[in-house]
């Protein structure tokens, strides 16, 4: 029998094509990432953050001048901007801040006079601090909003806190001014042609005399309120204050107006207006990458990050421990930082710190209250192994973590969150979508060319 092999082969090939296996994609069983994000968005009631427009009001201009003017520091060597640098996400890029007695900026800042005491904490950013969710300031929450409607605060100044402060940011702004290692300086710190007439006025432990520092600062800024300005910067500041608070006279001005102007500047200058996450929530589905979306699902789901990093600012403004240790770190310290305990004196609060908000978090390294982690990935990994240091020893022979310190770690973390390296990378990609970039022209509005005191303006 003759067989036409060519015809047979062709027919077989055809039959194979016709009966070719259809693909068994599991994707059919999965919901699309987009659908899951939509459900997540509904579940967590997510919406874009609401921010105020960047407008140069008179009060903004005054706040801007004060924010960048070193005249507010006892030694004339530190401005608010020194530890809140725009280039470092309005933090300073250092593990812990270096206030008075220093020169240079960010990681390059060094002491020019021997430090009296080291400032113990990492500089926090200032993004969106006017948001309604922001109920406390500082790592230990020592400035707290008690009654927003009545503008009542709980602060270390207690009854001595001046009345009339607009918000928690304004209340917070007072404290670096009366803290020796931040802006106040120390008695005898007379250098670079300036006299520090403020530092001897206050007891840094009791804060008795804080009002005297505030009065002396006003004297620096605007001179004797019942006499003509004796210095040119005082005339400029007088003019700016009166334009900013048009219903007031010179005699009415106090440190409260300094603080309120600073807070007004900060709320307009440091608002996250154009993050890709917010654009996505506003309906632009193309703005985030596939990896960022996967990261969002992990952040809000398996990673449990949302348990504490929630709301539009990504912080619950509550106090938790993630097991960060202070010892065995490049700046050796005698004492462990007890965090929230310093404010409440409640042993249950020991080692707990305020949840840091996460807007622009990719720019604010190093991380944690002591800046002990330089990379965001290491910071995330710390959450996954919060008691990893528990069985390690300090060079002195004692354990790195005390029993109390281990007990303080958040149960959300001690229950054991299991993320792969690839999943951590996805979460970090998502955090990048929270970043905001200053738009063209914003920098020119935010940073003054010159300040009334004519001291150098440093911002990057």
């Amino acid at each position: 029998m003759m067989i036409d092999f060519k015809a047979t082969y062709s027919t077989l090939l055809l039959s194979l094509v016709l009966f070719a296996p259809h693909s068994f994609s599991n994707e059919e069983a999965h919901e699309s990432v987009e659908n899951r994000l939509a459900r997540l968005s509904e579940l967590f009631e997510l919406r874009p953050i609401d921010t105020k427009p960047l407008i140069e009001t008179e009060r903004f201009k005054l706040g801007r001048a004060l924010f960048f003017d070193k005249i507010l520091s006892g030694n004339h060597d530190v401005a608010c901007a020194t530890c809140h640098l725009i280039a470092n996400g309005v933090s300073d890029g250092r593990p812990i801040s270096l206030g008075v007695r220093g020169a240079g900026l960010g990681p390059d800042r060094n002491y020019v006079l021997a430090p009296m005491e080291i400032h113990p904490r990492n500089s926090q950013d200032l993004w969106n601090r006017d948001h309604n969710d922001v109920s406390s300031m500082f790592w230990d929450g020592r400035v707290e909003m008690v009654d927003p409607a009545a503008r009542k605060f709980r602060t270390p100044l207690g009854e001595k806190l001046p009345e009339g402060l607009d918000n928690a940011m304004a209340a917070q702004a007072l404290f670096p001014l009366i803290t020796p290692n931040e802006m106040l300086g120390y008695p005898g710190d007379d250098y670079a042609g300036f006299t520090n007439e403020l530092s001897h006025l206050v007891d840094p432990n009791t804060l008795n005399g804080a009002d005297a520092v505030f009065e002396a600062l006003m004297l620096r800024l605007i001179g004797e309120q019942t006499a003509d300005a004796s210095e040119s910067h005082q005339s400029i500041y007088r003019n700016m204050f009166l334009k900013s608070f048009p219903t007031l006279s010179l005699e009415d001005l106090s440190i409260v107006h300094v603080a309120n102007a600073l807070a007004h500047f900060e709320e307009l200058a440091f608002a996250t207006r154009n993050s890709r996450w917010d654009s996505y929530l506003a309906g632009d589905r193309q703005t985030m990458t596939a990896r960022e979306k996967e990261g969002a699902l992990l952040f809000f789901g398996k990673g449990r990050c949302v348990a504490c990093h929630n709301g539009e600012t990504f912080s619950d403004f509550q106090f938790h421990s993630v097991g960060v240790i202070d010892e065995d770190w490049r700046i050796e310290r005698e004492k462990r930082d007890l965090g929230r305990f310093h404010t409440t004196k409640d042993p249950k609060d020991a080692f707990k710190f305020r949840t840091p908000p996460l807007r622009n978090v990719t720019k604010t390294a190093p991380y944690f209250h002591n800046g002990s982690e330089y990379s965001l990935k290491a910071a995330v990994q710390q959450h996954l192994a919060p008691t990893a240091s528990a069985n390690k020893y300090h060079s002195s022979g004692r354990f790195l973590m005390t029993a109390q310190q281990i007990q303080a770690v958040s149960p959300v973390l001690t229950a054991g969150i299991d993320l792969t390296d690839a999943e951590i990378d996805l979460i970090i990609d998502f955090l990048g979508s929270l970043d905001t970039e200053l738009r063209d022209g914003d920098l020119a509005i935010i940073v003054p060319k010159v300040v009334p005191s004519r001291l150098a303006v440093e911002y990057r």
């Binding site: 029998m1 003759m2 067989i3 036409d4 015809a7 047979t8 027919t11 077989l12 039959s15 194979l16 009966f19 296996p21 068994f24 599991n26 069983a29 999965h30 899951r36 459900r39 997540l40 579940l43 967590f44 699902l297 809000f300 789901g301 398996k302 449990r304 949302v306 348990a307 504490c308 929630n310 619950d316 509550q318 938790h320 958040s410 149960p411 959300v412 001690t414 229950a415 054991g416 969150i417 299991d418």
Partner: protein, 121 residues
């Protein structure tokens, strides 16, 4: 003519042979190869989902045991995160349904689940 009839006859034989071979291939595909492929394609994701789901339930069990140490707001957000992180459990159910639809017996599905990971279910 004889040559023409011969060609038609040969052609018919070839066509018949092709039909028989095609039917055999089709039968082999439908009865044996396709179910095996489908089973293989579902087995791995099922095993993966079983492990992930077991991990998720373990986490939820552990964190529930420590509820006293959580404030209400933290727990509320954590509870909502469970809705998202329970996804592997929903996937597992889907894979199981697909296996059953592929004529894999419940006993075989259970075997896959039991032999998955140290904990199993």
């Amino acid at each position: 003519m004889t040559s023409g009839r011969h060609h038609i006859f040969e052609g018919a034989k070839v066509t018949l042979l092709v039909c028989i071979v095609s039917l055999q291939v089709f039968w082999l595909w439908e009865v044996s190869i396709q179910p095996e492929l489908k089973l293989a394609s579902l087995k791995a994701p099922l095993q993966d989902a079983v492990i992930k789901c077991a991990n998720e339930r373990d986490y939820q069990r552990r964190v529930s045991a420590a509820l006293g140490g959580l404030d209400g707001k933290t727990f509320d957000y954590l509870r909502r995160s469970f809705v998202i992180s329970n996804e592997p459990c929903r996937q597992q159910e889907l894979f199981e349904l697909e296996l059953l639809a592929s004529n894999v017996s419940q006993a075989e599905v259970n075997l896959i689940k039991r032999t998955t990971g140290a904990r199993g279910l």
